[in-house]
Each structure stands twice: as C-alpha cells, then as structure tokens.
C-alpha cells in the first residue's frame, strides 16, 4: 500500500505494510524490515534462550549430516553440522571453541529457523573455561 507522509520541508511517498507480524517499508530506494516490539511467537522465545555458543539453525531446512558427537571438544570454525535448504548445502561451524553437551537433532530432521541444533559449552583458552549461565 502506498502512503504519503507530509511535513513542512518535504513529502515522501512510501510503501509500507505489515506482513505476518513484521513491518516492511520501502522509500528512498531502500527497504527496511522490523520485527514487532512485543515478540510473542514461539520462534522468538527459542532464540532468546539460546546461548551465544549454541548452534542455531539460520534457516528452515533439513539436517543432512552431523559431524560432531557428544562430549567432543571442538575448535572455533570446526564444521559441526550440515543442513540443506533450497537445494544448497550449508555447513554450520562452531563460533567459539567448546564441548558438545547436547545434540538436539538427527540426520533427516526438518528444522525451523532459530531452533537450537547443537548445544555447546564454551571453552575459553585464555580464562580457563566459562561456565554456562
């Protein structure tokens, strides 16, 4: 839908719309997208409870390979899990060194965006390990 916003200095025609709980707006050649302030979807909650070190599905898709197992210690950048979506493979890598404490998915699982796939206890080399909060 088109809207005209007028002020004393200028007027701007813009396109704006809510689509499935998000606010989309296009003007001056740019598109912006905003989540609603009050997150009430289950998806949002799940993401919030994830620890920074956990591996979270960045997109909906299928788990095609799990490359690490429980109690395994991994380095930053190690491939942990392979997902497929839209016919392309994506490898999820560890963002920090850590120990795998839980694997929440199996090969073949369809997972949703924001789902915690692998839980990782961070191992911080310099400070000698950071307990999870």
């Amino acid at each position: 839908m088109k809207y005209l916003i007028q002020s004393s200095e200028s007027s701007v025609w813009l396109d704006a719309e809510y689509v499935q709980g998000k606010f989309w707006i296009h003007f001056n050649g740019k598109t912006f997208c905003f989540e609603e302030e009050k997150q009430k979807s289950g998806r949002g909650k799940k993401s919030e409870s994830a620890h920074a070190s956990d591996l979270v599905a960045p997109m909906p898709g299928k788990v095609t390979k799990i490359l690490a197992s429980i109690n395994e210690q991994i380095k930053k950048g190690d491939p942990v899990l392979v997902m497929e979506a839209m016919k392309m493979e994506y490898t999820l890598k560890a963002g920090a060194p850590g120990e795998i404490v839980k694997v929440n998915c199996q090969v073949g699982d369809q997972v949703f965006i924001g789902q915690i796939l692998v839980e990782l206890r961070p191992l911080d080399a310099s400070s000698g390990g950071e307990p999870r909060g």
């Binding site: 813009l14 050649g29 598109t31 905003f34 960045p58």
Partner: protein, 504 residues
Amino acid sequence: MTSQSSTQRIHRLAIANRGEVAVRIIRACEELDIETVLLHSEVDVNSRAYRMANKKICIGPAPTAESYLNIRANINGAIASGAQAIHPGFGFLSENANFAQACRDEGIIFVGPSPESIRQLGDKVSCKALAKSLGLPLVPGYEGEDQSLSKLLSEAEKIGFPAIVKAAAGGGGRGMKVLRNIEEAKELIESAQREALSAFGSSKVFLEKYLDRAKHIEFQIFGDVTGKVFHLLDRECSVQRRHQKIIEEATSPSLTLELRRKMAEASCLIAEAARYQGAGTVEFLFQDDEFFLLEVNTRLQVEHPVTEMVMGVDLVKAQILTAQGEGVFGHWASKNQIRQPHGHSIECRIYAENPFLGGVPSTGKLGTVHWPEGPGRRFEYGFESGDEITAYYDPMIAKVIVWDETRLRAIKKMKKVLSESIVFGVHTNIPYLQEILSHTEFVNGKMTTRFIDKYFSEPIASQLPNESEEKIIREARSLVKASGLGRGKSLELDSPFTKSWRGV
C-alpha cells in the same frame, strides 16, 4: 524432436517446471496460440504460472524427487492432459536424457535436443571426450569411473591445489566445491557427492584444476531443423557466489573480435558434432586471453533474456518452433554475416535470502511486490503478493533485466530499477546486488569468478535508518496501524484516518 522433414503443429504443451520460467514458457505459448498445461507440485498452487496456465495437473507432493524430478509423474500428467509436447524449462529434468527418452517413447515432443545429444554433451565426462576429439581446449582434470574417495583424493593431489570438484550430472553450482588443500578435500568431496545425489540423482563427480582468475564466458547456440548450428554471441557470467550466477550480461566486455570469433566457432563445432537441435549454451573459462571449454548446457539458460535483448530474438518461441519442425534464424545463414549485438543488457537474479546474514534463505508469504516498468526494463517473475516462498525449491524468485545503449548506462539503469523494486515478506539480495553494481572492478568489466570471494564474502552491513528516515518510519508505522492494515486486520473504509493516506 520431430524428424527434420516433417512439421507437427503443437496445440497443447505441458510445462515440467515452476516459477518464472514456467511463466516465460506460458507467454511464448500464448503468442503461438498454444494451450498450456502446468505440471505442478502440491505446494505450487499459489503461483503466477498456476494462475496463468490453461490447465493444471498436480503431479505430486512438494519434495522435488516426488514431483518435479519424477519422470513418470510428469509423463503421466502430460498424457492425461492431452499435451503433444513438454517444455522442461531449466533445472529439474531439463538436462535429463532419460526424460527426453521417455517423452520420445510415449510419442511426446520434448522441447529440447535429442536424448542422444543430451547424453553426449550433458554428461560432462563424455562432453569432455568429444571436445578432446575435436581438438578444443579443456581445463586439465580427472573424470574417471573410479569414484572412490581415495582415488578422488589422489587425483586431486595430482592435479594440484586449488582444484574443483563438480557433479557430473550437475549445473547451477550444486555439488561444486573448491578444494584448497588435501586436509579440506575429503569433507568437501563427500559434501559434493551428497549434493549431487540430492539435486541430480547421481553422486558421480569429477575434478578439475581451479583457474583462480578466470572469467566465465558462454556462447548461446541454436541448432535448427536443417542440422545447422548458429550462435547468438556471448554472455559473461563471472559474478558468481558458490558457483551460482548472480549477475549476467550480454555481451562480454572482455572479448576481442578475434577471440569472440574463435570461441563462437568452437561452440558451433562441438554442438554440430553432437547433432544439436534447439537452444543450448557452451560455457568457457577465460584467463590470460586463453579459453577453455567448461561444459555444454543442453537447455535454455536462466540468463537467456540478455541474449534476447541484444540480439532481437525470442529463444523460447524459437525452441517451440524448432520442436514443431519449423525453420528459425534461417535468414541469417543466407546473409552469412557477422551479427552485431545491439546495445548492452544486464540481468540480476533476485534471490529470497537475507544479505545481512550472509545470504541465508528467507522464506514466507509475499506482501507487496512491485517491479518498476519502463523502457528497456524487463521483469521475469513467478510469484506475486500473497504467494508463499517455501524452502523446498531454488531461492531465485525473479530476474530483473535491463537494456541500454552502452554497458555503463545499463549498469546505471539497473541500479535505478533495483532501487525502485519492492519485495515485502521475504528478504532479497537487492542491497547486495546494489553494492556489486557499484564496485569498481565490476564497473570496469574486470571481474573474475573470484570477484564475490574477494570482495563480498562477508555479509554486507545492515542498513540502519538515519535520523530523518527513523522519523518517516515512525510516522508510517502509525499510519499503517491506524488504517487497519496492521497485524493482518482488514481495511476499515469508514475509519476516521482513511483521509490521511491514499491507496493506490
């Protein structure tokens, strides 16, 4: 394909594809007075092609193996609809010789080359063998039958790193990985095999030396019913990410007349040797004024519109006419002259992905979609407002094509067109495309296939609104809410706020 001497008028044609290419084929059929039948999966009922086709037949559930890649389901659908011909589009079954064969066995015209041509050229290994026998230059590599991991690893070492692993039955960048060293090679080869199996039904891969500053240049070829193969000059598609093309243009800004002539000759030579009929593409890598034949795509190419724009042809109609046994482009042969491209054309592929998160797929229901029409602008799209972009299929949701008299003007026009294009509901790569189009190396036409790796491997920075933009956004938000269009509520026409906004 019909025999060369007879013509068979097609009255009804089935489309074994989806999205924007299905729409493209429907348009061509409409102009040729041919009825269309869309062979679609269960989830693709909310799409533009579904709304446009004369008939629709559901051939199976969403997963491609059960619908768009299922040969039997497509053939049965076509027969049930009474279609005389099937157009496979690109991707899916378009380069599948067994599908072309199945069509022939059932007496259905396959709009494309013969199963024999597809087998010979489409299988990258036998294509290389043919090229070798014709004396055409090839990238060194391994394409043996021994597909064991140990053999592939030792061959990769022999070729030397960087090397590249590719799906033998592949295309479109799937099942393709660059191997930088032996340590990474094992994991990447296995991953390529899995992708190849998932996307093409065969895990067979081959290896090649990776040329690290090459350009991707390809020639559009067309075999007509007389057995003569024409070329329609070249396209450059060096802007690729994970071997998937993002921006293509016609013609390449990098070729001299002499090189263009040699590559065109090589393209026609290999296609004629395989008795090629219909539209096809011969792909080359081009580095240090040397060219190497990469592969032949035995189908219509995603980027065919840029050739159409500068050559003044309609490749999809030409495909269908050829399938009917009619001559096309014949008048060129008699003139026997070098065809000159008219101006310059650029295509940008619009992917449903989040450019601020490194291009992860973005799925969901489309809100407003607006493509800004104008002279020298062309939009190929398969989904409109209200349609759903799902995770089952390719993330390409549209193509934006521009034409202008020079390359620089075409770039400028593309930037303008993209800035006015609106897609709500899913994120798109438009901000990413804008940055690429502004990059000096692209503007100067010097980009190689490493361009994206070199300059755009990181997610681009989020666009945050500045202060005055913030203000506008706040106002717009309250306007939209007041209008009753927030949070899925329907428009209330008697709202006291309706006067403050204008619907278009």
